[in-house]
Chain length 324, copies 3
């Protein structure tokens, strides 16, 4: 997963900087900086302005093989904010249903006749790469099973840049389910591209961060340590990135889940330890790992972070469809 960014990505990738968005690893510092510039412009697109019609006449197809209403709405809103049309497929599994059995490649070849860009959510790791390998139009990976969810990684990184004004010289606490949570893993990977980063890993025993990411951090020169003291970490960090403990990972180990879930909670007390200009992020949805009392704190940035997802997706759609 951490190998050559271009490996397996469609041939056109080499002649144009951004043909598809398949995995977070495609984005080096330079491309990230460009993306974030365009994203910032997207924040200022005014209703009724020519910018709000930048994608007029373009059609985006959202092909979701598993439901993810939040991600779908974010992409569809992004396309609409730029004046484009949307074709929605929430039950894309129908294409490959038992009685029909079409391959993903054939489906893509058909759907690309109807649209100008495809946003693909799939249950199988590698599906987006496979789709991009046959598509003659851009493909954006909106999550492929246990694989990648690059637009989430990009919006998380953008939010840190937007909130702190920098991505170098920061201390970040990753908290919660670091074993399964793909967002925390991706963020760790993205941060490894920047200078003078310190990462604290705060996870219940059963869901510790995997060795692959730890090794990558070490090789990239990132200073990291594991901790079981959220209060101490919160006091040291510029960013506390909280994540949800996912019940479905625990099967019938109900007690393990309950223990893990209650272990590290961001509440008023944790906020009181944090620096004045630090922020709390969360990929959402949240359960009770951030208490509701925190919402009104100006350092609670998670709903701003969700909104940044809109701007990142507007920027990607614009860059892929009309360039920059």
């Amino acid at each position: 997963m951490m190998g050559n960014p271009a490996a397996g990505v469609h041939e056109k990738e080499r002649t144009k900087p951004l043909s598809h968005v398949i995995e977070a690893q495609q984005f080096d510092r330079e491309l990230l900086a460009k993306l974030f510039d365009v994203t910032r412009e997207m924040e200022n697109v005014k209703r009724g302005s020519p910018d709000a019609e930048a994608l007029k006449g373009y059609i985006m197809a959202t092909m979701f093989y598993e439901p993810s209403t939040r991600t779908r709405l974010s992409f569809e809103s992004a396309m609409s904010r730029l004046g484009g049309f949307v074709l929605t497929t929430e039950n894309a599994r129908e294409f490959s249903s038992a009685s029909k059995g079409e391959t993903l490649e054939d489906t893509i070849r058909t759907v690309e006749g109807y649209s100008d860009i495809v946003v693909l959510r799939h249950f199988e790791s590698g599906a987006a790469k496979k789709a991009a390998s046959v598509a003659q139009i851009p493909v954006i990976n909106a999550g492929d099973g246990p694989g990648q969810h690059p637009t989430q990684a990009l919006l998380d990184t953008y939010t840190i840049q937007r909130e702190l004004g920098r991505l170098d010289n920061i201390k970040v606490g990753l908290v919660g389910d670091l074993a399964n949570g793909r967002t925390a893993r991706s963020l760790a990977y993205m941060l490894s591209k920047f200078d003078n980063i310190k990462i604290y890993l705060v996870a219940p025993d059963v869901v510790k961060m995997g060795d692959d990411i730890k090794e990558h951090l070490t090789q990239s020169g990132v200073d990291w340590e594991e901790s079981d003291d959220l209060q101490e970490v919160a006091a040291a960090c510029d960013v506390v990135y909280q994540t949800r403990i996912q019940r479905e990972r625990f099967g019938d180990r109900v007690e393990d889940y309950a223990r893990a879930r209650g272990r590290y909670i961001v509440n008023r007390k944790i906020m009181d330890c944090m620096k004045k200009d630090a922020v709390v992020l969360h990929p959402l949805p949240r359960l009770d790992e951030i208490t509701v009392e925190v919402d009104s704190d100006p350092r609670a940035a998670y709903f701003r972070q969700a909104k940044n997802g809109l701007f990142i997706r507007m920027a990607l759609l614009k860059m892929l469809l009309v360039g920059w």
Copy 2:
């Protein structure tokens, strides 16, 4: 349910006459008159005219936690007729699915980042009020379980005004399931705001109108009586408002259902008793409580009534998004 209209509604309500549409009780005679003026204008919006782009660039999110294709299509058509964009969510329950468990408040805070107005259909009474209490954009209640369905009440009232030319000095027969049917209950409530109203209640024994509404009518000075003679009532009324006996209310009491369902039917014979300028309304869908032979009678106004739902919703979207 009949208390202070403003109770529990979002704070902004007090400074602007229409911030959200949560319950029919929000609408006093003055606001109704204004709404009906705008609705009448909506009937005349011509394709290709500037009015048909009044909401260009605005985004409406329909968040349906239970299916209601008819209501959803009506709202989406209304938004399209005014040039706006639509984000559709028919499976909004996914937001709060077992494995995720997000609160409605958090969902609204996320979705309001993607849209300019939310149309919410929910299975729990009070959900719309809860949504409006956190939303920074307008929320329209498109039905919340056994609670309110204000746009239906408004379109029913508008239809009477539109068909008869008045809302004072009318005699209305409410027929069918008056115990469970929320439309008949809401219409009785709306009519209580007007002068010199007579209401006849015609319902099978098992689904009689509740005492709360009867008391409200009495307190509001509305003359009402119960009757079991549909023919007599039809002869006296300006409006016969027929409703469907809902099978699901009867569980396994199949005989009770059959008896109630066949009790009061609007057919040719009933039409022959009615006044020349009276009208038959029905919130739709209908089964056989109005026979198909009635459809061609000019006094059969129920499909015009359904179409008025479009105009009422256009008017509400316009009033909430760009004012009036």
Copy 3:
């Protein structure tokens, strides 16, 4: 099914050449020629041109009583490419659900209040005709159960015209499930309108072409024969129209299915027999009845055929809504 084209179709049909699209039989050679002219224009509609706004302000409702994502997306893309709005209903069965029980006629009368054209997919043969009989707006049949799927027949015919430059004087091999596959049956019917046609029928024993079509071909002066030698047929034909053997037709006769499915495969060897300017068509989706190695052959026209579905539907929407 092969009777008077106008039988049962809505009255308006007689005063205007195209009021609804219900069945392939509506299209005589003259109307087909006109449709194909408009379709060819649709291929050249440029983004941002006035042609791309030909249906601006119009609303199309797709009412699908059974899923068919491919057909739905094609129609919705067509409407978007011409600047129109789309209302989507993938679960239209909800209208007639047990607890509600609305008739199709009532549903259409309601939905026509919200839209300017209805695209109907239904599970019952004759549903589209029934809908058109009450609708005051155009209805397009997007497949009604075992009945008709006229836009597929039209796009298949258009593709032959587009690929070969003619519809007279051609030899066509229909291959696969000719008993159940409605596309092959419809194509045979359409071809019977043209001159000097030769049709080869190549089907496993259990799914041979029905006698009704064979009789119709004979009566129309079409030369046809059955064959069990795909190689020989491929060598003789201008068009090989391959179809999928549908597993659901075989129930638990698993062996029959396996035998039928493997019987006639279009592969490299078959392609080697074919004429240089012949083409392979397939209504899609395909399983393995055309091997993937064939895809790169320029005579493999099935993805172009799928794309032609877009242009045919654009042309129909334009002709029905604004004329030609």
